[in-house]
Symmetry: C2
Subunit: 567 residues, 2 copies
C-alpha cells in the first residue's frame, strides 16, 4: 500500500515538472503571447486533434508507391498524401501574412508557365538529339524566344521526335503538336518539359549525399571542375531548372503575365504581402525578342503590374487580401568585389526612382561553394555611406547566411558577417543553432529568420522535417517567418505546404504558433510602419474569420474516436 | 583607389569580427581550457591539416561501390574508406579515457563471438527451413546451448543446407563443416551468421524512414501490431541482433571469455575505464547448459574477470592502461511500476555486496514507443530513501533520455524527468538542443551528455554526422563524452570510429577538443575521487606520449601540398 508521504512527493514532483516545462517553453511565440481567446483555444484544440488523428490514419495507411509514409516525411514523396489531408485543406484557408523569401524566376507554377510559353509564337525549343523512349529522361529541352524574322519555316519544321531531327529550333507550339504519340503526344511533350522545370523524388533523394561531396574545403574552381566531372546532382539539377525558366520568363509578354500570375496564386493561398528576390543583372527582352530592356524598364513593368493588381483588389473590395509586393535586389556570390560595388550603386539608383519598390539588398548563390560575405566586406561596409551620399532612405541588408549544416566553414561563418553588417533578417540561418552568442544577438536585435522548410529538405540539408532546426528556433524564442524559396521547383503554391510540414513534424507547434509566425511575417517585413499597421489590422480580420471557419467543423473533429493516446 | 577611411574601417570590422567569433566559441572545451602546450599546438595543426588533405583526396576519390563519399557520411557505407585513413590510424592510438555508454551484449566483435561459440560443443543452431541461395538472405539462424544429454546424434545430423533439412537442431561446429559449398561452405556459414548479428547498409539506409513511421502518437500495443504487420525494419533488425547474442553470450563458458575479450579490445583501442549497462533481469546458464545462475553468481564472474585482468596489467606494468570497469544496472521500459520497484530493491542488494562494481541505475528500450520516465515516477522518487534505509552509498541515476528527433513527445520529455530526478549524466539527449532551459540546467549542474554518434546515425536519428547535434553541444559548452552504444552491431571496436566521425564532420573540432572529451569522460565517470585522480594522471602520461607520436610525422604532413584552400 502507498504511504501518504510518497503520494504527496509524487504530486509535488509533478508540480515542479509542470513549472519546468512552462519555463522551458516560455520563449515560444504561442506561450509568450496574451492568453488565447475562446475561438483561438477551440481552433488550437481542433487542429491538434486533427493532426493526431491524421498521423494515425492518413499517415499510417499503406500506399503502393510510398513504402513508409509519416508526417513530415520527404516532401516530394509525401506530397500526394498531403493533398488528401483535411488539415492541409484547412491550412490553405489560413491567412499567412507575408511571403518574405522567394526568388523571382522560381515563384510561379510550372504548368501555368508552360501554358504561357505555348501561347507565344516567339517561343521555340530544341534538344541535343532526337528524342526517343530511351533518352527522353536524360535529354533536356532548350528554349529560346526568336525574333519573327528568324522563325524557322513552319512547313520545314521537323518534330523533336522525328527520325530526321537534328538539333534544330522548332516552334514550341508545333513541337508539342508533332510530339510522337509513342512518347505521349502533346501530353508527353508537357511532361518532358515539366520534368526539366522541377525536381523529382529520385533526383532529390537518390542523390541526397552529393550536397556534402563538394561542401568541405573546396575552391570555386574545384567546385566547377567537380560539377563537370563527378557531377553534383541535386544542386546541379536545382541550378538547371533556372536555366529553363530564364529562357521563358525573361520575355516581356510572358514576364508580365508570369509576375501577375504568381502574385495571384500566392494571394489565393492567403499571402497578403510579398518580398521577391531578383538579380540586379536580370535580363528581359521586349516583345520583338530583340531589344533588351533596361533595369529601369523592367521595374516600370513590375510597378505597373502591382498598381493594376492593387486597383483591381480595391475595386472588388478585397483590399485586405493584397497589401502589395517589394523587390529585394540580389547579386551573385561569384562576382568580383568591383562588380558588387557597381551593383550597389545600381541598387541605390533604383531606390531613388522606385523608393516604394525596393525592400533591401542580398547576395545569392550556394554558400557552401561560392564567395563568403567577408570577401565583399569593403563594398558592403561602404554601402550605408553611398546611400547617404545619394540621399536615399536606408536600403537594409537581408542576407542569406548559414544555409549549410556545417560548422566553422565559410558558409557557416557568413552568419557572423550577416549580423555584424546589420542584416535585418537572415535567409535560412540553418546552422544558427551551433552559435550560442549569435542566437542571443538575433533575439536582442530582433533579427527574424527566414526559414524555408521544404527547400532545405529537398536540397538535403536535412533528411526530414523532424531534424529541421525550426522547432528549436521556436523554443529558443527566435523570430521566425516561413517561406517557400523556389516553390516552382518543388511544385508548391504559396506557403501552405511549408506551413503544413512544420505543423505536422512537431508535437508542440499548433495553429496558434503558426498564427504568430504569420503576424511576425508582417512585423518583420520591410513594409513602412503605416503599411504594417494596415496589414496587421487586415490580417487580424481574416484570422478571426479563419477561426470561425475552423470552429465550423470543430465538434465533428473533436468527437472523432481517438485511436492514438499513449496507454 | 581606396580611401584610407575604408581601409581603416575594414580593419576595424575584421577586429570586431574576430572578437565576436571568439565570444561565440568561448564555451567550447578547446577554447575555455588553459593555453595549448607547444606539443599540443603542433598536434592540433598536424591533425587539422591531415583532415583537410584527406577530405580532398581520400574522400574525393571515386569508389566503384560508393557513389558519393564524403567525410562523416553514413558510417556503414563509408567504413571501408575510413579504414584507409591515416587520420583514423592515428586516432586509434589516442588515449580515449572512459567508455561510458555501452550495452553488455553488444560490446564485443561479432566474428570473435562466433569463434567463441564454435569452440563450445553445447552451441547448436537451427533455422525455419532448409537454406538455399534464394532464402539465405531472409532466413536467420536460431542458436541454443543444449545440455549434453540433449545433443542430437552427430551421425544423424542433417546439414542446414541439405534437401532433407527440417528445422532440427545441429551442432554449430557441424553445421559449419557441412554448410553447402554452393553457399560458400564454412565461410558461407560464417557470413550467414554474422549477417544476423550486424546491421548492413541496405538494412539501415534502405529503410531509414521507418524509425519515424511509428514514432508519433502511438501506444505500445499499436507499436507491437505495427511490427507484426507493416514492419519496422531498422529497430526490428536492431532488436533481432540482441536475440542472437543472447543465445550465445548467456552461457558461462562463453560469457566469461566474451566479457574478457571486449574489455581487452576496448583497452587495445585506448579506453582505460568502462561503464557497462546490463539488465538486472540478465540470465546466464552454467556450463551444463541447464542450471541458471543467480544475479549474484553473474556478478561474481564479472568481479572475478576484472580482478584477473587488473592483476595481469599490473604484472605487465601496464596499470595506466586499465583502471577498471563498473556496471550500470538497467531495467526495460516495458515493465510494470511494481516490477521496476522490485528491481530497484535488487539493485540495492547488489550494491551492498558489490559496492565497487555498481555505477548506477538506468531504464532502457526505445523511448519513442515504450514507457516514459514519468510513468515510473513513484518508484524512482522512492529510490533514494530505499538506499538510505538499506544503508548503501548513493546509486546515481544515469538515464537514457531524449533519444529522439521529435519535440514535445514522451521521448523528448524524458529529458525533463531525467534532470528533475537528478540524473548524473544523460544517455543520448539527442533532442536537448530544443530545450533552452534544459541546456542551461545541464551546464549548471554539470550533467554530462553521453553522445553515441554512430549509433544515432545508423538508427537514423540523423542522416549523416553533419546534422548530428554534437557540434552544437560543444559550442554551447555542454559536457560531452563520446561512446559506442552497441559497437558489435555496427562492427566497431572501442571508440576510434566514433571519435573519427565527430572529428571529420566538423571544421571546428580538432584533436584538442577530442582530448578534452577524453578527460571529461574520466571526470564525469562514476569512479571514486581517488580512482579519478589516478585515471587522470595515467591519461595525461599517455596523452603526452600520443602528442610525441603525432609530432613524429608532423613535418611530413605539414609540408604536403595543400590542394584545398578557399581562393
Amino acid at each position: 500500500m502507498r504511504s501518504s508521504t510518497i503520494v504527496h512527493e509524487v504530486a509535488e514532483y509533478k508540480k515542479r515538472r509542470d513549472e519546468l516545462i512552462t519555463q522551458d517553453r516560455a520563449l515560444r511565440a504561442d506561450h509568450s503571447r496574451e492568453p488565447l481567446s475562446p475561438a483561438e483555444a477551440l481552433a488550437e484544440e481542433v487542429i491538434r486533434k486533427l493532426k493526431t488523428t491524421e498521423a494515425a490514419t492518413l499517415w499510417s495507411a499503406d500506399y503502393p508507391s510510398i513504402p513508409h509514409p509519416f508526417p513530415g516525411m520527404e516532401f516530394l514523396t509525401g506530397r500526394s498524401i498531403i493533398m488528401q489531408s483535411k488539415l492541409f485543406e484547412i491550412l490553405s484557408k489560413m491567412p499567412k501574412g507575408s511571403l518574405l523569401h522567394g526568388h523571382f524566376d522560381a515563384m510561379g507554377q510550372a504548368p501555368a508557365l508552360l501554358d504561357l510559353a505555348l501561347k507565344q509564337p516567339a517561343v521555340h525549343v530544341r534538344c541535343a538529339e532526337r528524342l526517343t523512349a530511351s533518352n527522353i529522361q536524360t535529354v533536356p529541352p532548350e528554349f529560346l524566344c526568336l525574333p519573327e524574322d528568324m522563325y524557322p519555316d513552319l512547313a520545314g519544321s521537323v518534330s523533336l521526335t522525328d527520325a530526321n531531327y537534328q538539333h534544330t529550333w522548332i516552334s514550341a507550339q508545333l513541337a508539342r503538336e508533332l510530339f510522337d504519340p509513342q512518347l505521349g503526344g502533346p501530353g508527353g511533350f508537357d511532361r518532358w518539359v515539366l520534368a526539366a522545370m522541377t525536381i523529382n523524388p529520385s533526383e532529390a533523394y537518390g542523390t541526397h549525399n552529393t550536397v556534402k561531396k563538394v561542401m568541405l574545403h573546396i575552391s570555386v574552381q574545384r567546385f566547377r571542375s567537380l560539377i563537370a566531372t563527378v557531377g553534383f546532382q541535386i544542386w546541379e539539377k536545382f541550378a538547371s531548372t533556372f536555366g529553363v525558366y530564364e529562357r521563358i520568363v525573361h520575355y516581356v509578354p510572358i514576364f508580365r503575365e508570369y509576375f501577375r500570375q504568381f502574385l495571384l496564386s500566392a494571394i489565393e493561398d492567403g499571402v497578403s504581402y510579398i518580398e521577391i528576390r531578383m538579380n540586379l543583372t536580370y535580363k528581359v527582352v521586349a516583345a520583338d525578342a530583340k531589344t533588351e530592356l533596361s533595369t529601369r524598364e523592367i521595374f516600370l513593368i513590375l510597378d505597373n503590374v502591382l498598381k493594376e493588381l492593387t486597383a483591381e483588389f480595391k475595386q472588388q473590395g478585397r483590399e485586405d487580401e493584397f497589401i502589395g509586393a517589394k523587390i529585394i535586389i540580389t547579386a551573385f556570390r561569384l562576382f568580383s568585389v568591383e562588380i558588387i560595388e557597381t551593383l550597389l550603386h545600381g541598387c541605390i539608383a533604383l531606390k531613388k526612382e522606385f523608393p516604394h519598390l525596393i525592400a533591401g539588398f542580398d547576395l545569392v548563390g550556394q554558400e557552401d561553394v561560392l564567395q563568403p560575405l567577408i570577401y565583399y566586406a569593403e563594398p558592403l561596409l561602404k554601402f550605408r555611406q553611398m546611400q547617404q551620399d545619394a540621399g536615399v532612405d536606408e536600403i537594409p541588408f537581408l542576407f542569406h547566411a548559414g544555409e549549410t549544416f556545417t560548422d566553422g566553414t565559410e558558409a557557416d561563418m557568413n552568419l557572423y558577417d550577416a549580423i555584424l553588417l546589420g542584416t535585418k533578417r537572415i535567409g535560412h540561418a540553418f546552422s544558427l543553432l551551433k552559435h550560442p552568442k549569435l542566437i542571443e544577438m538575433c533575439k536582442e536585435r530582433e533579427i527574424a529568420i527566414e526559414v524555408c522548410p521544404i527547400s532545405n529538405e529537398v536540397l538535403r540539408l536535412t533528411s526530414s522535417m523532424h531534424m529541421h532546426p525550426v522547432s528549436a528556433f521556436f523554443n529558443h524564442g527566435l523570430r521566425v517567418v516561413l517561406s517557400s524559396d523556389d516553390p516552382c521547383i518543388w511544385q508548391c503554391v504559396g506557403l501552405t505546404f511549408d506551413f503544413y510540414q512544420v505543423l505536422v513534424s512537431s508535437e508542440l507547434t499548433g495553429i496558434i504558433q503558426l498564427g504568430e509566425v504569420a503576424k511576425d511575417s508582417i512585423k518583420y517585413s520591410m513594409l513602412s510602419p503605416d503599411e504594417k499597421q494596415r496589414a496587421l489590422v487586415a490580417w487580424q480580420k481574416r484570422w478571426d474569420k479563419f477561426l470561425e471557419y475552423v470552429a465550423g467543423f470543430g465538434r465533428e473533429v473533436l468527437s472523432a474516436h481517438d485511436t492514438t493516446s499513449f496507454t
